[in-house]
Assembly symmetry: C2
Homo-oligomer: 445 residues x 2
């Protein structure tokens, strides 16, 4: 007899392919028995949000090689049929075998009961077996794949910028230092590949990277990790306006395709998180766009509700972001042209000599998702910026040379992957959208 | 008047679109003048192997804002026409402006003369402006994009495994250690995400990662970097045979599509490197497959030509790899079932109790490109392996738990990106296929 091996997401709930012979492999998620000794067993193989129900006779169960419990891995053969009552396909099992049993079922860390997300973090090696984490994993795959596809379609070149570095991009970041005698130099983990990427943008004007970056900060929040993935793009001949345009296009393309391919998972997570994420709204791609000064004026009117001071020259903090995106505009917001003193040396100073040509995109519930700017392409102005930030010109010799020999205007941005993933999955803690999150005191797994 | 902005690779050399008005931006690669004062200038914008020739009158040149030299960035407008003599499209310039000039042209690190690859490494920030490095960058983009596409098409899920770790995957690797007080634990840079990936494969059976890995080894060879990119896949319910099959499929799919989209760049690099890379051969996808023991028997017959000893239990070294792939088989070779003592603890021991179910894929001129194996999925056997390699069971508590609760047979492999890129670009030194290579004493840029 010929059996077809099927992944569970390929067993569509339609009245077709009836009586076909199917082979499946997966893990047992639930076992129920009827009075007449028939077993209804839920199986999943990680490909689908919904389990597949298989119907097994008592005889088959009694003849099994090992005791059957939740969490066992099994393989089984049977005939597919459409259950009109529940409007789902099921499989009548003819043959079944336990592959990996559980010696002590009481000790299996994922029982049938409700597990908190905090508990699941403590068993990060088992949590992909839950609906929550497998859903997030499938959504992440789409998000990242469509990001790559977007950049391929727009003729960008992926550049693997180095993790090990002797240079501090931002000029004020807390970096991890590495013990070593190999490089004969102080060695750090990168906080951003931007400067390296700029050298490629000054030769091949559309480039991007996508890789891990690090912050040696002792911050214990729901939105920070010490290790996270950033997508950075640098684009020759682009100004701020064109950079904002391509960011919006990128977000729209990626989110649209992810929603299309993962609507089941996304809807499940919306319910699970009791989220008010509005998918239709996301697809309208409307983002408010305002200057920093206008944002300050809006915030000033509500000054009393904030604990942090609001005046020109101060940072927009979390409480302000929440107010703007969740209460005032009820939408993502693009804030442009910040004061130069709160932004890094590489940003281009505007004609007003006070602000820099930059933008942050902030999202409801998440905060900053994207930060970008025009880069200073004039050597004299760049040197002034380096000086005014009290950085050492010598450290940036090659970055400065890009401005001395055939310089071009260019802009770039960085997107925090986990932040965007939080938004689209409605998850509230960044530690739950990363397979093995790194944060203070946590280097497990 | 309406001008269309064109990237240079989009200006196809066909007798169509004549007399269209075109805007271009790019860098000057070469300047020639005719006796009657017409300037023939080669322009490139990083999108194309071949430069675009523009024709500029003396008048326009004289009226330029700055002195025109090689390496200047310019923007220009003009009319496209087909030059029958050279069978190429050219542009008669009406308007031109220098964007970024070069104050001291003698100091521009990329002159017209021949530059050695060693020299180019010393100016890694400028080398993407050369044909060699821009070609490699475009090929890398294709290679990586089609790798991601292959895994997406085969329903794999990308998992970002952590870089910061407290665990040594291989059990004997030289790892970089990080100074920090944040994790309250000894912290290292990962050598492989395999163990983490396995925990996902034991829930969602098709997973892969793609990220940087590190080796704190003082090795100064043309095939090693201290930081390089690895693609690793773990596949539940797969044995060695199926793993070899999917590796071959992956290589074939990726190489086929890269050749299709980058044949010009690949052919240029074949000529540049005087390589005997046979593209037709690559597309036949024939790879010799032999057991380690058979390889040893072949090598023993030629024992005299090798400096390293050959007997059962020894490693296959570079000289053996060269002999096998370049002289004996003249093809890539898959070597299977190595002795257990020279392979890591996680590999599944064969029934003979002497060998492990593993494979290495070695390529002519490159050496190992892929290494993979079945993973030991039985807890007792795994514990024996850990013991026999003198490792500490406690460190692997969660990895061991995967075998205690619903274990499944599974296999995986790792592909070295730079090695594959070396092969397809015909480049002989791994430092030239990485934008900013890290190796002993080199942490520049």
């Amino acid at each position: 007899m010929c059996y077809i091996i099927k992944k569970i997401n390929k067993i569509k709930n339609k009245v077709i392919n009836q009586n076909k012979q199917i082979k499946i492999k997966g893990w047992i998620k639930n076992i129920r028995t009827s009075k007449i000794g028939i077993f209804f067993i839920d199986i999943n193989d990680g490909t689908s949000l919904n389990h597949l129900q298989i119907i097994v006779n008592k005889e088959i169960i009694c003849n099994l090689n090992k005791k059957i419990t939740n969490g066992c891995s099994i393989k089984a053969k049977g005939i597919i049929f459409y259950n009109k009552k529940i409007k789902k396909n099921e499989i009548k099992i003819k043959n079944m075998k336990i592959i990996g049993h559980i010696k002590n079922p009481k000790k299996y860390p994922i029982g049938k009961k409700y597990h908190s997300l905090e508990y699941l973090r403590s068993i990060s090696h088992f949590r992909p077996r839950t609906k929550i984490i497998s859903s997030i994993s499938r959504i992440r795959q789409s998000l990242v794949y469509y990001l790559h596809q977007f950049f391929q379609k727009h003729n960008f070149i992926w550049i693997p910028t180095p993790i090990l570095t002797s240079l501090d991009t931002e000029g004020y970041s807390k970096m991890f230092e590495i013990k070593n005698k190999i490089f004969k130099k102080k060695t750090f983990l990168t906080v951003s590949g931007q400067l390296n990427l700029e050298s490629y943008a000054c030769a091949i004007p559309k480039v991007y990277n996508f890789g891990p970056v690090f912050r040696a900060e002792n911050s214990n929040t729901t939105k920070h990790l010490t290790e996270f993935w950033m997508l950075e793009a640098e684009i020759g001949f682009y100004n701020l306006k064109k950079t904002i345009e391509i960011c919006k296009k990128m977000l729209f393309y990626t989110v649209k395709n992810t929603i299309k391919h993962n609507h089941e998972d996304i809807n499940f997570l919306i319910k699970y998180n009791k989220s008010n994420l509005n998918i239709d709204y996301l697809l309208k791609n409307n983002i408010v766009e305002l200057d920093y000064i206008d944002i300050i004026n809006i915030l000033k009117k509500k000054e009393k509700i904030f604990t942090n001071p609001i005046k020109w020259g101060t940072n927009i903090t979390t409480e302000h972001e929440i107010f703007l995106t969740e209460k005032y505009f009820k939408s993502p917001v693009i804030i442009k042209n910040y004061p130069k003193q709160i932004k890094p040396f590489y940003m281009k100073i505007n004609k007003d000599q006070k602000t820099v040509s930059c933008m942050d995109i902030i999202y409801p519930h998440i905060g900053e998702i994207i930060g970008g700017s025009e880069r200073e392409s004039n050597i004299k102005k760049l040197d002034n910026n380096i000086l005014s930030k009290k950085l050492n010109k010598k450290n940036y010799w090659w970055y400065r040379e890009l401005r001395k020999f055939g310089t071009i205007p260019h802009s770039g941005f960085g997107l925090g992957l986990e932040r965007l993933l939080m938004y689209i999955t409605s998850m509230k803690n960044i530690r739950d959208v990363t397979p093995f999150p790194r944060y203070p005191k946590n280097l497990n797994f």
